[in-house]
Structures are given as structure tokens and as C-alpha cells.
Symmetry: C2
Subunit: 320 residues, 2 copies
């Protein structure tokens, strides 16, 4: 990750990583320090957390969710984890193992919710039953379960591991369409609303590559593979376009996201959807603009469908 | 530009061009028709021109400026051209020849202003004297001369050949920085202000590739080379990032620009710089926020500098 003989900007010791956007290289200790500082800055700048908060971290077993849980613990916050078993074949089995091992090694509490055993479906089956892209059913399912678990468990804030690359790619997609409503909603801190917990993204000032390095330096084993069902996802194209520009002009990606949040987001405040009045789902009571929430509609259609193994779905997709 | 045997969407005759963003191929005649329709739509949608306008087209000798002059003439507008001799070696000599030949063949009036003979400098010398990137001195010089010529000549509107790719790339750059003031100013029609003519961009709904095809089909010879001094320009990186996304999802580029103009630009209206009070330059009388306008400052520094041939400047740049 760095040329031999490179020195840390802070202590002149051997550098392990080159961060062009900071125009500097860092040794392991000072790199960790930089990550802690960026997370602390995000937490303060965007009023994410206080010492009194009861924190729930959405954990997937990937680098970002394990890194944010580790970082918060390291910074002195008490945080429990929540893992959702999505039933995506080996991918889910392996990710569950990483999440469980991480929690056990550090004596942290990991709550687990399994879609199939608790709700009678899994993501491959939901994708087939709803005839939508898998990421759609998956996102709706996870959001619902995270929200519900946070409120039921008495947590005051839900943390997700979205990093700067994730947020910049989403922002880029919304910007390419100038979807003003989505743009107005994009913020690293979303306040609690009726039926929805406060949600925060403490990694919004740190990149994907930095989070991978955090895990390596801290000895955290994580699931490296991307979800097999996310293949061809448009976000990957947005990330790669931003990366091409970033490599020409380091710092562009961070400026794109953070300048949006600082300069543009306040101007869009009036368009925020907080104004939309949400009713309660007639089945589960979750907030929804309609009568039945999106989650209950997925459950209804998926439970009635015979189980679809992920291999079958991907095989079919591959033949298209 | 199109697979053998492809048919025109309109007449089923042999197609000469494939336009993925329209999900269709077109024969020569119906492609020209599409271009005329897009220009007509831009003119109407953005209140660009009326039959009573006295129109001046900024002509460089490249495909876009010759195409817009040709399109306007073809649509029945009377328009004169203005060519500015920038003194960029062979590049300027060749571009002048293309502009002159086009005007002569069609019996159109081309006004010519030469920087060196009328103002005592050229762009390579200005770049060296001001120690800024050449595009900066060039843009300021051309804007000043176009504005002044339009007002002095009694023209009511100044037309430039900026196409969709140009506008999308500028928008992308402003968006990456969330430069709200620049974003607020980006519009295909800028109304006249004290000391500044109305300015319009009738090609804002048509791409670079479409304008090259227009010239080929219409038999217009134009200067194909990019300006040698623009090399490494950041716009080229923005264009290439947008092109990468466009090739994955045809139509993204047009949606990015046109949705901005339709949805976002109105929301930024209050930030428009029309509110900035401009005084008059103490030397030339042009509108300026300071005492001496940017053009007169370039002239002052450049005239005092010994002439720098473009080859010397580029050779030096190459060695960096």
C-alpha cells in the first residue's frame, strides 16, 4: 500500500499506507489515530452520539460494519450489534461467522435476527417473488428489522457502517438525476421520527480503502467478498467513475460529499421529507405512507412463494 | 457509426448513425431533422431567440460553432459570425481558414478581431505574462471581445456553440465542488445586463458526437484538433467520467444536465449573481466588480511582455 522506505508524516517511522487525499503517508499507529480523529469529527460535526446514548450497530460481517463497531468501542462508546440472516447461501453463513467471531472475541453483545426462521422467507425468494432487483427487497427488509429492533430494544440511535465511498456514490446517483427529494434526505445524521430511530453514519469521512486498512491493522477478520446478488449494481459504476476522478485529483470525492453536506444540504432543508405525514402499517404498526408497509408486502408475497436457493436465482440471472 | 443493414427509425431507409440515448438509428435526413428539432426545442424552452433578434455567433472554426451558425441559418434566423484571432500558432491560422471558408461559401458575414494587431498581445504571451493556465486568459479575452462586439454592433443576442457535453462537464465540475454560486449561474440563456448582451447556447440539447455528425452530413469542413494549449484541462477528465457512465446507461448525460436546468436551477434562483452590483472599468467601461476589469489587467501585463510563441510555451510545459 506504500513505497518501501516511505515515512510517516507524524513520527517519521516506517509508513504502512499512502493517503493521497491527505498528501501524506502514515505508520500503523498514526493511521489508526487519523481514523479515530475523523470518526470523532463526524460524530461532533453532525451531532451523532453522546455518552448517554444506547447504541445499536447494524453488523453485516463486512469490513465497514465491523470497523465502525470497533471504532466506537475503541472511542469509549458502549454499543451492541445486530446481525440479520438474509439467507443468501454461503455468503450469509460466512458473514454470520465473521460477525459472531468478532463479537465473541471482544465480549460484545450481538443480537441475531434470521429472516427465514422469524419471518418465513429469505432474500433470494423475496427477489423472485417480488420480481424486483434483490438489493431492493434486501434494503427494505434490513431497514425494517433494524428500525424495529432499535426501538424494541430501547436503543436511542442506530449506527450503520456506510463509508465515504458509499455516500459519495449514492450522492452521485441522486445528482445525476437531480432527484431533489432524495438529495434533501441525504445526511449522515437522520433524527428520530415517530416509529423510526435516530440513524447515524460515523464513517462518512473515511473511505472504503481506509476501512479495509483499519481492519488489517487491528487484526479484524471480515468477509471480503461483495454480496453475489449485488452484481451489476449501478452503484459500482458510480464508484468507479468517482474513483477515476479521485485518482486524477485526490480529495475530489471527499470534497464532493462533504461540501454537499455543508453547503448544499442546508439549502435543500425545506424539501426534507420530514413533512410527509406517515400513518401506521395496519399489520405491523411500522410508519408507512400507505396502509400496508413495504416490508409487510414483501413478507406477504415471499411467504407464499416456494423457497428459491440463491444458486438457482444467480444461475438464472447468469443465463439472461 | 452504425452497424451495416441498420434502418432509420423514421423511414426504415439505411441508417447512418446510432443514438443509444434515443434508443434509435437514423438516416442522414432524419438525423438532421432531429438536430433541428432539438435546437428549436432549446430555443423555445429557454426563450433564446425571436425572429426580430439581431444575432451574433461566436465562431472558432471548430465543429460546434460552425454547426450552430449553420443550424440557425438553416432554421431561418439571420446571424453574423465573429472570429477572434488568438495567436495560437498554426492552430489559429487553420481555424481562421475554416471559419472564413464557411462564411464565404454561404455568403455570411464574418467579423474578425485579431488580438495581436488590435490589442498588442496573443494568448501564449498572456498565459506567460499572467502566469495562469492559458484557458483562463483565453476565456477572459474572448468573453470581453464577444460582449463588446455584440453591444457595439447593435446585436441583441450572442450565440455560442457550447454543446451538451460541454455543459454537462462544466456542471459536473461545479457539482463536484458544490460551488453554489457557479451552479446558480449555469443556464443556457443568460439575460442581458448593463454592459453585457443576452447570451444563449442553442446546442445545449445536442452532443459533441451529434455535432460532428451534423458537420459531416452537411459537408462542413472544420478544425478537428483540440486547442494544443487546452491539454490536461480538467474538463476532459469530467467528460470522460460522464462518457463512461453514459455508455453504461445511455441518456444519463442529457438527464443530468437537463434535469438540473429544469428542477434544480429554479431552486437556486435566489443565489443568482444578477444581484451583484457591477461598476464600470475605469479604462474600457466594461462591467466589473473592481476598478479595472480582468481583460484590461490581462492587456496591461501582456503588452509589456515580449511575445511568446506557442511552441516555446508548449515546449516548456512539456518539460515540466
Amino acid at each position: 500500500m506504500v513505497a518501501a522506505g516511505s515515512k510517516c508524516r507524524v513520527c517519521r517511522g516506517p509508513a504502512i499506507i499512502d493517503l493521497p487525499r491527505h498528501n501524506a503517508k502514515f505508520c500503523a499507529d498514526h493511521f489508526l489515530e487519523l481514523c479515530r480523529r475523523q470518526v470523532t469529527k463526524a460524530i461532533e460535526q453532525f451531532d451523532m452520539l453522546t455518552a448517554e446514548d444506547r447504541i445499536l450497530v447494524a453488523v453485516s460481517g463486512g469490513k465497514d460494519s465491523l470497523a465502525v463497531w470497533d471504532l466506537l468501542t475503541d472511542l469509549g462508546y458502549a454499543a451492541d450489534g445486530l446481525y440479520v440472516g438474509l439467507g443468501i447461501g454461503d455468503y450469509s453463513d460466512t458473514s454470520a461467522a465473521y460477525a459472531t467471531a468478532f463479537a465473541e472475541q471482544r465480549g460484545l453483545t450481538l443480537i441475531t435476527v434470521d429472516l427465514r426462521s422469524e419471518f418465513g422467507y429469505d432474500i433470494p425468494t423475496a427477489a423472485r417473488a417480488t420480481r424486483r432487483v434483490p438489493c431492493s427487497a434486501c434494503g427494505t427488509s434490513k431497514r425494517h428489522i433494524f428500525d424495529r429492533a432499535a426501538l424494541d430494544g430501547g436503543y436511542t440511535v442506530l449506527v450503520t457502517g456506510h463509508n465515504l465511498d458509499d455516500e459519495a456514490a449514492v450522492l452521485f446517483g441522486n445528482t445525476l438525476r437531480w432527484d431533489v427529494e432524495y438529495l434533501a434526505r441525504q445526511h449522515p445524521t437522520l433524527p428520530a421520527r415517530a416509529g423510526l430511530p435516530k440513524k447515524v453514519k460515523p464513517l462518512c469521512r473515511l473511505t472504503e480503502r481506509e476501512m479495509a486498512a483499519w481492519c488489517v491493522v487491528r487484526g479484524i477478520d471480515y468477509l471480503v467478498e461483495e454480496c453475489p446478488m449485488a452484481h451489476g449494481n449501478r452503484h459500482l459504476a458510480y464508484k468507479s467513475a468517482l474513483n477515476a476522478i479521485e485518482s486524477e485529483s485526490p480529495g475530489t470525492k471527499a470534497a464532493f460529499y462533504l461540501n454537499f453536506i455543508e453547503r448544499m444540504s442546508p439549502a435543500l432543508g425545506t424539501a426534507r421529507v420530514d413533512d410527509v405525514v406517515l400513518g401506521e402499517c395496519q399489520r405491523c404498526g411500522a410508519p408507512t405512507p400507505g396502509e400496508i408497509c413495504a416490508f409487510c408486502r414483501i413478507v406477504e408475497r415471499s411467504v407464499a412463494h416456494e423457497p428459491v436457493p440463491v444458486e438457482v436465482l444467480l444461475g438464472k440471472k447468469g443465463r439472461r
